[in-house]
C-alpha cells in the first residue's frame, strides 16, 4: 500500500478507569522526543518573537529596547526585503514547477520496463544526494564558466555560446541547479504514485479502447494528483529555504539579483548584526511558511484518510 493506514479505532484500547500514573506511563515514551523538539525549535522561535519587537544591534552594545511593531514596519519598508520576497517567489515557483514537470516525465519513463531500469533510477536520484554545497561549487565552475564550462560547450553547436551564466543570468543559473537537484525528489514521489495504480483499472481502460494518451490524462493524472500536490508542497517548503546554492554561486548578487529571504536574513543577522530586523523578517518567513504548510498538512492528512 502506498498510503499509510490509520490504526483503525475499532475497539477502545484503554478501559475507562485508567489511573493517572498509567496514563503517564503510556505517554512516557513520547515525552523525551517531545521535550527535545520543543526546546530546540519552539523556544528559539519564542526568542525570535521577542527580538522582533525589540531594537537591538550587536555592534552597538546596549540593552534591547521595546519598539512594538517598528521592526516589521522597517522590514516591509525596506526595498531590499521586498526584492528578496520577489526573488524567493520567482526562485521557488520556477524551481518547483520545472522540477515537477521533469520529475513527472522521468517517473513516467521509469515506470516502464526496460533494460537496466534500476541503474537508470540510481543515476537519476544521484543529483539529490550530492552535497548541495559541493554541487553548487561544481556548477559554478565546471558548468557555468563562460570559457571552459560544459554548458556553453554543449550549447555551442546550437549557436549559443560565450554566455557568462552566473553574471548575465544569475537567477536562471540558480534555478537550473535547483531543478537539477530537486527533479529526483519529485520523480521518486510521482513514481511511487504511478506504481500504486491498480493494473486492473489500466487494463480495463485498454479493453475499452482508450489510447495511451487518453489513459494517462483521464486515469493516471487524476490518480497522481495527490502525489503531485504532496511533491509540490514539500518541495516548496524546502526550496523556499534555499541557502547553499546562493551562498556558493552568487552570494546573493550580482547586486541583489539573487538574494532570497534566507540569504537576506543571514546578511541582516551576521553581517549587519541587526537583531530586530532579522528577527522580524524571520517571523514573516515563518508566517508565510505556515500558510504553505497548512496546505501541505491538509494534503498529507488526506493521503492519510484515504484508507
Amino acid at each position: 500500500m502506498v498510503v499509510e493506514a490509520l490504526p483503525a479505532p475499532r475497539r477502545r484500547p484503554a478501559p475507562k478507569q485508567v489511573t493517572r500514573g498509567e496514563r503517564w506511563k503510556r505517554r512516557g515514551p513520547l515525552l523525551p522526543a517531545l521535550v527535545v523538539a520543543i526546546v530546540l525549535t519552539q523556544l528559539p522561535f519564542l526568542l525570535t518573537l521577542y527580538y522582533s519587537v525589540h531594537s537591538q544591534n550587536l555592534l552597538r552594545p546596549g540593552a534591547a529596547r521595546f519598539v512594538g511593531l517598528a521592526n516589521f514596519g522597517k522590514v516591509f519598508g525596506d526595498e531590499l526585503f521586498r526584492n528578496a520576497v520577489l526573488n524567493t517567489v520567482v526562485l521557488t515557483a520556477s524551481a518547483v514547477m520545472l522540477s515537477m514537470l521533469l520529475g513527472l516525465a522521468c517517473a513516467v519513463l521509469l515506470d516502464r520496463k526496460f533494460l537496466g531500469r534500476s541503474v537508470v533510477r540510481t543515476l537519476l536520484i544521484t543529483p539529490f544526494l550530492v552535497m548541495p554545497a559541493a554541487a553548487a561549487l561544481l556548477w559554478k565552475t565546471s558548468i557555468y564558466n563562460p570559457v571552459f564550462g560544459l554548458l556553453n560547450w554543449a550549447l555551442a553547436p546550437f549557436g549559443f555560446g560565450g554566455t557568462d551564466w552566473v553574471s548575465e543570468h544569475p537567477m536562471i543559473a540558480i534555478i537550473l541547479v535547483l531543478t537539477w537537484q530537486w527533479t529526483p525528489f519529485m520523480m521518486l514521489i510521482v513514481l511511487a504514485g504511478l506504481q500504486s495504480q491498480s493494473p486492473e483499472v489500466l487494463e480495463a481502460a485498454k479493453v475499452d479502447g482508450a489510447g495511451a494518451w487518453a489513459t494517462f490524462v483521464r486515469i493516471t493524472l487524476p490518480h497522481l494528483r495527490q502525489f503531485i500536490e504532496l511533491g509540490i508542497l514539500l518541495g516548496s517548503i524546502f526550496i523556499v529555504q534555499t541557502f547553499d546554492a546562493i551562498f556558493m554561486i552568487t552570494q546573493g548578487g550580482p547586486g541583489q539579483a539573487t538574494t532570497n529571504l534566507p540569504y537576506f536574513i543571514y546578511q541582516q543577522a551576521f553581517r549587519a548584526f541587526d537583531v530586530g530586523e532579522a528577527a522580524a523578517a524571520g517571523v514573516i518567513v515563518v508566517v508565510a511558511t505556515i500558510v504553505i504548510a497548512t496546505f501541505a498538512l491538509r494534503v498529507i492528512s488526506n493521503l492519510f484518510r484515504e484508507e
Partner: protein, 296 residues
C-alpha cells in the same frame, strides 16, 4: 528486458503460465526500446555533472579547465594528496561526529515516540504527530539568531555537540514519522501472540518489536545521516574553526581557490561520496523518508 526473465517453473498451473506468457509478450513492444534508450539518455544527462566532478578530481589543473573539455587523461592522485595535506581530516571528522551523534540521538528519541504514537495509541496521538512535522517545516533562518546567541552565551558556539543537537531537532520529525510507518506494518498477529504468551511490555519491545523493525531503523538512520551530512546553513552559521564540517571546508573554494578546478572537484568528491553511497544503499526507503513516511 522482460524477455530475459526466467520462464515460470513447470509446477505452475497452465493457466497461470499462459497468463505469464501473455504478460511477457505484451511488454515487448517496439516502443519499449525507444523508451529504454530515452530513459538512459536522461539518466546519463542528470548524472553527468556528478561523473564530471569525479573525473576532474583525478586531473592535473591544466587539464581541468580546457576548451573543449578534456575527456581522456592519465589519472593522478595529486589533488587528493593536496586536499589531505590542507587539513581536510578535521572537517571530515567533525562531519562524521555531528552526523553519527545526531543520528544516534534521533533514533534513541524517535523510536519510543513512534511506538507511543502507533502501537501504544496514546490519546491525541494525531496532534503530537502533526506537531513533529510542523517543526520540520519551520525555516531554520527564523531561529538561527536566537540559537547563535544562546550558543554564544553558554559557550557552545563552534561546538560539534551543539551542531549535533541542531541536526537532532532537524531529523527528529522525519524519524518519528518514518519509524511509525514501519511499526504500523508489523503483523498484528505476532504482537497479539506475544501478548497472549504473557510477554511484558519491555520484553515485547526488546525481543519482538525491535528485531522486526531493525531494517526500518537502519533505513531511518541512513536517511538522517544523509540530511545531517549535507547540512550547510547551521554549519556555516554556528561553527568557525573548531567544529567546522565538510561543507564549510568547501566555502574556502568560493574565492581563494576557486581557480583550482581539479582540486575543488577532488574536495567535492570526498565531501559528497559518503552520502552518495549511503543514498544508493537506502534507495528503497528514500521516498518514504523524503515524504515523511506518507508515501511508500
Amino acid at each position: 528486458m522482460s524477455t530475459l526473465t526466467a520462464s515460470p517453473p513447470a509446477a505452475t498451473p497452465p493457466a497461470a503460465r499462459r497468463q505469464a506468457r501473455r504478460r511477457r509478450i505484451r511488454h515487448v513492444r517496439p516502443g519499449d526500446v525507444g523508451i529504454g534508450v530515452l530513459a538512459w539518455v536522461v539518466g546519463i544527462v542528470f548524472f553527468f555533472p556528478v561523473l564530471w566532478m569525479f573525473l576532474t578530481g583525478f586531473k592535473q589543473e591544466a587539464q581541468a579547465s580546457t576548451d573543449p573539455p578534456t575527456f581522456v587523461f592519465t589519472p593522478t592522485f595529486e589533488q587528493y594528496a593536496a586536499i589531505l595535506e590542507r587539513n581536510f581530516a578535521p572537517y571530515f571528522i567533525n562531519s562524521l561526529t555531528a552526523s553519527v551523534m545526531s543520528t544516534i540521538f534521533v533514533i534513541a528519541l524517535a523510536t519510543p515516540a513512534a511506538y507511543a504514537l502507533s502501537l501504544a495509541r496514546i490519546p491525541r496521538w494525531r496532534d503530537s504527530l502533526f506537531f513533529f512535522i510542523s517543526t520540520r517545516m519551520m525555516p531554520a533562518v527564523a531561529i538561527i539568531l536566537p540559537l547563535y546567541l544562546i550558543a554564544k552565551n553558554v559557550g557552545m558556539l563552534d561546538n560539534v555537540t551543539f551542531l549535533a543537537l541542531m541536526y537532532t531537532a532537524m531529523n527528529l520529525p522525519i524519524a518519528v514519522w518514518m519509524i511509525r510507518s514501519f511499526l504500523l506494518e508489523l503483523p498484528k498477529e505476532v504482537l497479539e501472540a506475544s501478548r497472549m504468551d504473557g510477554a511484558g511490555l519491555f520484553t515485547e519491545i526488546r525481543s519482538i518489536i525491535l528485531p522486526m523493525i531493525a531494517p526500518g531503523l537502519a533505513a531511518t538512520s541512513l536517511i538522517c545521516f544523509i540530511f545531517a551530512w549535507n547540512e550547510f546553513f547551521f554549519a556555516v552559521s554556528l561553527t568557525a574553526t573548531q567544529a567546522a564540517t565538510v561543507p564549510v571546508f568547501l566555502v574556502g573554494f568560493i574565492t581563494s581557490e576557486g581557480l583550482f578546478w581539479a582540486r575543488l572537484s577532488a574536495a567535492s568528491t570526498m565531501a559528497a561520496l559518503p552520502v552518495i553511497l549511503a543514498g544508493w544503499a537506502a534507495q528503497k526507503w528514500l521516498v518514504r523518508g523524503l515524504s515523511l513516511g506518507a508515501v511508500k
